[in-house]
Symmetry: C2
Subunit: 435 residues, 2 copies
Amino acid sequence: MKPNTAFALRGNLVDSASPTQLRCREDHFLVCEDGRVAGVFPRLPDRYAHLPVEDWSGRLIIPGLTDLHTHAPQYAFRGLGMDLELLDWLEARTFPEEAGYADLDYARRAYGLFVQELQAGAATRACVFATVHRESTLLLMELLEKSGLVTRVGKVNMDRNCPDSLREPSAQTSLAATRRWLEACAGFRNTRPILTPRFIPSCSDELLAGLAAVQRETGLPVQSHLSENPSEVEWVRQLCPDAAGYGEAYLRRGLLGGENCPTVMAHCVYSDAAERRLLKEQGVWVAHCPQSNTNLSSGAAPVRAFLEEGVRVGLGSDVAGGHTLSILRAIADAVQVSKLRWRLVEGGARPLTLPEAFWLATAGGGAFFGQVGRFEPGWAFDAVVLEDSAYPHPQPLSSLERLERLCYLCSDDRRAVVRKFVEGRPAAGSAPRNP
Amino acid sequence: MKPNTAFALRGNLVDSASPTQLRCREDHFLVCEDGRVAGVFPRLPDRYAHLPVEDWSGRLIIPGLTDLHTHAPQYAFRGLGMDLELLDWLEARTFPEEAGYADLDYARRAYGLFVQELQAGAATRACVFATVHRESTLLLMELLEKSGLVTRVGKVNMDRNCPDSLREPSAQTSLAATRRWLEACAGFRNTRPILTPRFIPSCSDELLAGLAAVQRETGLPVQSHLSENPSEVEWVRQLCPDAAGYGEAYLRRGLLGGENCPTVMAHCVYSDAAERRLLKEQGVWVAHCPQSNTNLSSGAAPVRAFLEEGVRVGLGSDVAGGHTLSILRAIADAVQVSKLRWRLVEGGARPLTLPEAFWLATAGGGAFFGQVGRFEPGWAFDAVVLEDSAYPHPQPLSSLERLERLCYLCSDDRRAVVRKFVEGRPAAGSAPRNP
């Protein structure tokens, strides 16, 4: 897919001026060259006068969002079984469903729906868990490759503490399957692999050591779960008596970031000061998943502390702990959960603002993929055109007000996204504006 | 509007078997006679064989929902200014917007949008705050009357602690305007008045005493706000040194329920054991508004305690503290907020389940309007047909699973509601199924 070498979009460009400030450049031109932002202009400069322009005047155009943590095989049961807590929910809902992805026909149908919604939404980037199954993971990657999105996808590893139907027989078979999977997916361009030990409770030390070796050898990134739920944190404490905490347990096993190991850890709800220091030192991205943390009664992550202490953070939908893939909604959810944390937790820090949560959804998580999530020269041309006419209003609204409203009112991106570009390529399914 | 005397709906009927249990009667017939449920049958009995049947086979049919607390003039700025706390938000957003309803042209436009969405949604009943303005309140009531919904609407009273543009010059003028308004709205059938002192901080003792007199004279119901936010609770403590608490302050002023004074109090986030006892003794309905309590950083109400102690409770959207009118979403929000409360508050009670929250949204709040919110013989024929095909799934789902999913996935009722009846009358805008 050769990127459309150069063109421009016209509209109301909204992105982050800083981690705490939004900016809107009304009726501006956003120029794309070779998949990158060439510049933002109030009038199209002469040197670009020949470019094709898609005119979205009056519409909001925002950077593509990043979903830093989601589970493709859980999409099928989003919004179901929500009266359960994490470990019960894994047993009752997640593991039985994931076992179904041994069946390629079922996987094709279910992953097809997942990719369809991801493609139609406001995210241009995502880090995705598949299941332990090599073949259906490859099938998911094929579907994602066709979608035009840029993603990291992981075949899950787990060799203990899960049902027989999902447990890989040994660390060695799990590692061998991982290597075969890595060979098979070498041809994808936009859909790249990421090492994916599910979490410490379901991975033996031998398996984690083996994955750390693969990581060192390949330089591949890593994704997993960290400090999501009190029972889980306690379980890890028992499983890893060598470590002072959950984060340190990953560190000692060679799977907690560092210069050559870009890593996403989902949740970090119970990351105390020591663990946060580790996350910062190791340059780990926290995938904050407010909707999931609420649905699974996990708690409310210390996002203000992450921001103040310089820990990297982005947002994740964590479907199906989260019930929707919408990262627009995750922006509002992040603000909401931070408010309840502030009110209900002794010494709770001041809530996130909408501009801060928007930053997390764009440049915060986007950084995992490089220069992604702002309209700055040289940054990836990931852009989403939003339509908000489904939400009428009697009074005039500024572009920033319209954006805030959309984050709150639109829980289903498909109602709002009318056009999407990833690295300058139109996302499959979105159409240019009729002249 | 004469109700369609008798007919039947066919579909998957889901309602509450009890406050903790849902039931689904798959492919059943729900018979309506004179606006009431005549019965639920697996096959249409001979005596009803002649009735017209609307066939919604395969669709979910649920009782109409009740929105026990919402502000029509705040609909215009739903989802805006959400980075503010209650008292700041009133100053910055609410009062300036409400002042605009002195202008009937603006009110017609803005209330038109509000009524349009309420009408298209899953609620069949609502308790609605207007503004202090008599004329635009009547206009709102006219629009609601045409909608076919059954509502209680209040012209707001306030004579202190608010901007000049909204303050009624004195208790006497406020009371006189209220009486004139009551005379003018005597002709409505489905849209009835409710006395609406905004809350104690904005009503002088003289005004509250006058409203209590009007209440005794007319037997009209009352709606107001109670114990929403710590600063507000403290403010009332200072304003009412005669009372041990906020609830008692209303009681002493003759406006906290009792046998001849059906009353809705919104929020009750900070109602302690003593206040909850009062609420129970006085038979007051609590309008639990989880989305608003989150957005305005108010906190999380002790709903489990209300239920265990026998306090009447329903759900409210509280637009625009809440950002959406969807009571389907309020069901999921109520569960979510109760989970964070359980996790974050010392000694927090176990979370609400989806069946419990569904009960609140139907029979719980519906009881304010009589026998409303269940498919039981003799109860009001309020019924909503839901379409969930916008949310595809690869596996078979039961009707109860489909309902849970819709509560989580559908934040905009307009995507789900395809048909609605209020007391047996088709709601304006919904269409019978094509044969």
